[in-house]
Symmetry: D2
């Protein structure tokens, strides 16, 4: 995996400020853990009011958090003032999202001038063990 | 587009009962409008607490609702007692999700014995006009 | 579906000239049938040397032809001199690609300044009947 | 990444025999390098007759080879007699496929009873250096 050089020394503050403005992330109870150049980790505690019909976390909620992680992984590499939009993503739901909390980890696969491609995974944490429950491939557009 | 014959005469009640158990849909304020064989429509009013950093509906929330619509379109064609799991989906976000309310419309593209493929669109309604803001292609697995 | 206005009156000649330079299309025996604003149709006769292990057309060959159709549907709407690159695509393979010949039909879903999203289908023709065998959702980037 | 136990001691011979029946792979000049439990590598030398309009390898040809690698990575884990079908895949084309030869490397992300999810990458080799040019996420169905 490549090492990335941030173009903006204040990338972390910029990413954290933007995340703080994503009302949807606060609504579902997600918080931003780690921000590194080209890498972001978001945590989401389980909540009953975010489940699907079998009591697992709804695939759409998992997706929302992994999408945010991908977007901020891309944004960590943009120049000062740079914004990022999700163009598209694809996610495979590998196992039921059963756990006490969930981690979305995203990393930049390729950072281009206009388009950044990211990979993201969702892990369920249960009884101290981590299990991969979903994997995403996402295309982000850099907006200036 | 094909016309589908439901295998379960009570498909609509079954779909509506399952949707009612999706806590995440209630939490975001989505409700099920139309259920027909191989077709489902879900409505989501705009809410400030579901936005991303620019004030539009979060892509993940749009996705959650279109994913649910795709899943229930598939479930409308399963035999009595049939359940459906999202294996994977891909969504293209075409325009900012700006509107007073949103409609997710899904239809079955191909209903197989094990796998059902669905297409779903999200429309934003604003000043009485409807605009396509996202389009999804989803793979659902039939579970017995 | 929207009606598109071409920005280049010579869009068809430009698309046909570019297709003629795609050596891979000649190698697999594909030819360009219809070119309209935002819509392209490509035909591929069945050939034994393009099959997978069960004797059906290889999914990758189906994909190559639908991808080309999507790219040229996008290119039909670019200004004079405009080129198009495939950023990504997703394809669902719905049925074995069994037939005497195949049609790939692509249409633009949304034409943006930088990004154009296309949908493409592959149909198998067999004994005079047409069957949908694959469906694609593709993201194209406009290059100037 | 998980270590996989093959269910069939003769998995490699089975994979190689099936690959040898994929006429399309022979037609494009691809050959199977490495077969391990849950991992496959295919090589494709550059050929002018497989290019797109700018002289790079056609995205569809890259895709065909990565799809085959994903399918055989999945097949390496099936029981004796097991077959695999591509349900769907998504590929991001990261850079022009420029090189003297190309490597498609696929690995199983999750092996299920019915569905196996694989990740595949394509690398271009040029002047002794390897460059990632495409990345795929694929869903395979196990057929018995």
């Amino acid at each position: 995996m490549p090492d990335f050089e941030p173009q903006d020394p204040d990338y972390e503050a910029r990413v954290r400020a933007s995340f703080a403005r994503q009302a949807a992330m606060a609504t579902v109870g997600a918080h931003l853990l780690r921000v590194a150049p080209g890498e972001v980790e978001i945590e989401l505690p389980f909540r009953e009011d975010l489940t699907q019909q079998h009591g697992y976390l709804h695939a759409g909620v998992v997706t929302a958090v992994v999408d945010s992680a991908c977007g901020y992984a891309a944004m960590s590499l943009t120049p000062p003032g740079g914004e990022v939009l999700s163009v598209e993503f694809k996610i495979n739901l590998l196992s039921p999202a059963a756990g006490e909390r969930f981690l979305a980890r995203a990393r930049v696969v390729r950072a281009g001038r206009n388009v950044t491609v990211c990979a993201g995974d969702a892990f369920a944490l249960r009884d101290g063990r981590e299990k991969l429950v979903a994997t995403m491939l996402a295309t982000m557009m850099n907006v200036r």
